[in-house]
Symmetry: D2
Subunit: 300 residues, 4 copies
């Protein structure tokens, strides 16, 4: 089928290649003309604006937005809602917060546009070869129209219509929350090994765990690969960034009064790695000095 792709970053461009390889026709736009050129080189038709992209698609049109969550997605959805026509399909494949997606879905529905919020997992490699997609939208019937697209670009059995609008991005959010917890557990395990009396080869450990153990899985495979390059990861700083979904998961859990100590611990572990100078630390250090005369580390 024919798809308009807006946003040609590392994920968007890989998806374009995946779509083309699977027999789809892609019209591609990005604010960066060089990215459009890369898409054209991969077989896409280039567009010079959102409007130009829409004009190059036949109805009922299908547009896939793959731009950063928040303001960029907001404004692109807003544009599309005015440019597209009743019966067209609009997919947000980015990492939008699910409440934004619910709002986008309402905006689109007012114009008769079928809005789908599509959480995308599987990383860059998945986007290129066989991705993983969790897709919310107006109805299972409407989703039938998009099935051939997903059947091609997804890993076998790697896509799911998850229910009403918002449910796709909500599910992707929770997926990432689980991912945070799993990564924290794996990291801590290797930390305990590194500080033990034994002399493990981390690559060998990850490898044996990937062949028959309970903790086998893609994250452990990635660990094996990382250790194969440098078993002590000596050039990498122990600083763990986060891009929001873990925090959102905890925030949603709090709204639901659901305890998520494991996922939350993995989030705070990341926060703590970002600073060695929290105000909490200053206060505790000052209190220890206050009652016990314990020396405080001072700022240099």
């Amino acid at each position: 089928m024919q798809i308009g792709m807006i946003g040609l970053g590392k994920m968007g461009l890989n998806l374009v290649k995946n779509m083309i390889r699977n027999g789809n026709e892609v019209v591609a736009f990005d604010l960066n003309p060089e990215s459009v050129e890369l898409a054209v080189a991969a077989g896409a038709t280039g567009a010079t604006s959102n409007a130009d992209l829409v004009s190059k698609l036949n109805g009922p049109r299908t547009v896939w937005i793959m731009v950063p969550a928040g303001a960029p997605t907001d404004s692109t959805v807003s544009d599309m809602v005015s440019l597209l026509s009743e019966g067209d399909y609009l997919i947000d494949g980015g990492n939008s917060f699910y409440e934004d997606s619910i709002r986008h879905g309402k905006l689109a529905a007012e114009e008769g546009i079928n809005f789908f919020d599509c959480g995308t997992s599987g990383g860059m490699n998945g986007a290129l070869n066989a991705g993983n997609f969790m897709i919310g939208g107006p109805s299972a019937e409407k989703f039938e129209h998009l099935k051939p697209l997903y059947e091609g670009i997804a890993e076998k059995d790697g896509y799911l219509y998850t229910g009403k609008v918002g449910s796709g991005h909500f599910l992707k959010m929770v997926h990432n929350g689980i991912e945070y917890g799993m990564m924290g557990a794996i990291g801590e395990g290797f930390d305990v090994l590194e500080n033990s009396q034994f002399d493990y080869n981390n690559e060998a450990v990850a490898k044996v765990w990937n062949h028959g153990s309970v903790v086998r899985g893609w994250l452990m495979e990635l660990a094996e690969e990382a250790f194969s390059k440098d078993d002590k990861l000596s050039a990498i700083a122990g600083v763990m960034h986060s891009s929001g979904e873990g925090k959102w998961t905890v925030q949603e859990a709090l709204k639901e009064n659901v305890a998520t100590p494991v996922i939350t611990a993995s989030l705070y572990e990341r926060y703590a790695s970002m600073t060695d100078d929290s105000f909490t630390g200053k206060v505790v250090s000052a209190l220890r000095n206050g009652f016990g005369g314990h020396a405080m580390d001072m700022k240099k």
Copy 2:
């Protein structure tokens, strides 16, 4: 090769079948004669005691102990150290604490017996078909003698000589610590889904996550299987037992001054599920009543 197997519980018996299927000859003993009969039915030679088992093996003998950790393993190792001869091989394939294994290794070494501490993962199915083994022992050279055995019964690339005695069970312990964290994260994720405004089919969620997502792995496959039987797990109580390795991992981390907030959270989450009447809870409830007059739940 020829192996003596002591302990024919769910794991031991499956290992016997695995060994026989892979061309090994097994002499089997268990305190329970019915278990010995099952092993005999599977093709093993039955033994009536530890001594009888040893007498039925040709030197250099290889004996695999698969009995509960702690006192049962202690006494079996002790027996074997007196029954076996210099140059024989003794494997503890159970879930022993690694410091016990170091002690066992010293006892065995005094008699010239080669002691290996073998952490076994992969569950019952792995034991039966293709297990996962992390094996510490006196030297890589001595391990060569056991390689043909493991090559047969393990998943491809699913065994590793991990270094000196104790390192096998230590690694298995950390593996289980990671497993605790991963399971906690997965459980919490589905808890957030269950309490959300959306109506997910948990089996379908686990299935899509198993096909291309970042969190795919054996635990998610087991989740899919569990949900396939009852999507709401309605007959299962939310009580999480634990058998020690998670606690050991945290204890070792504390000895190393390594923070393991994720793994620890998963351990405490299990503890909390075992009671709804902790003393902590009584104290906090009494304090709330003390300053704010908040009602307390009373024991019935």
Copy 3:
């Protein structure tokens, strides 16, 4: 001075008595006429409605709202904004979420009414005898008008103008977050004592800690008092309710990207005490059964 008090629950009624004892004149209203009678018995003038209460006050009027947070406070503030006049003073002394207070402050300001959000601590006893108050409002100058009131009803040095509207309830929220963490730590400490090999008298422990130790404070005094009634708290169930401020503190911390592992742990500890049948627990139990054949507790 003259104060109109709306809401005569356990806190409101105690505040009325405190105000009267300190030479203030109080007009009191509650939806429950019996509560109004109690206030009248304590020396207040009764009112039959919000409007009646306002009509009985001289300008510039001061009205103190002490009703449950959320909808009851919303509607009372709304009523007062229409009933009061420019230059009047309106205090919300309840446990409102600070963003609600900011909203209430804007509504009031549009009518020229001076809105103060007053976090109240110190429990029922404090309300009655000498309370603790954290008060946000339009300006320090406007707060001068209320100083004589607080000077009388507060513990010496026990009130503070905290800055712009919202800052009073925000500070009270954080106060409660700290309180959650402190209570959790105290509860856990006594739990470790109870499960130790030693035979402590908890009342004696709390008493000695209250006389010179680092952990002395009001909460430990309340613990001593609770243990004096029953050293094992045997009639109290270990169930820890929570009324929102702890959760709000964590939610605000997340918005700020500030890690609060201690306060969060105390919140989750409460949640966990409320159930022994979480979905997390069901999933983890099912997974353990899946790979290891571990028995599951089943629902009765």
Copy 4:
């Protein structure tokens, strides 16, 4: 009464002054002669060795050891057990691990020496003016002999005979565990304030909280004092050291299968503040890069 004091560090020397002020006679020894001179200047009799100190005391002798926990305490106790006589009293007032104290108690009991393990709280100021003491020992009857000493140097009601040997240091350990949790909660609360939209004066906040609020106590008074010197603690680094008792509390709780999420969180928070380069962090960062191409911070 007459006391021999071994160990004249910041705590020991303050205790000597406290004892002398309360009418006791002190013989003082420290490996550092300058410390002995300070004790002599304060009114003590100096000793030149453990043996010299013992020789200068009349029977039944009372010796108070105030040296670092671990090896120094071990060797001093060992010395005293050989130097003292049946019926003498030996007090370890330091921060020994309670199992060491149980061992010390057995050694002493074999020689008929009455060994007491005395946990000391209240900081340096308490040691000097009115301390807090939790004392385990052979029996309540034997403790009667020491009562006059504690009655003088302790805060009123600030000492307690806690039961058999080990119970004093165990209780002090748990006291410190609670202290960790309370300090973490206080630190986090101020961190949330610092990062809020409001502009609080931390000293004023701590002050108001100290006058009637639920969280009032000595730690909050110390916070007020610290903020009075610099409201932003700008010269202090956010690094939280720990000296062992918090970790011990968690380790004991694990032995008891008691969940202590709050105290544990405060411990890990300290560990995390000590490094911004954990191996956990390296692994998580490498995994994020592996699946999502997320940039890693590299070591400089």
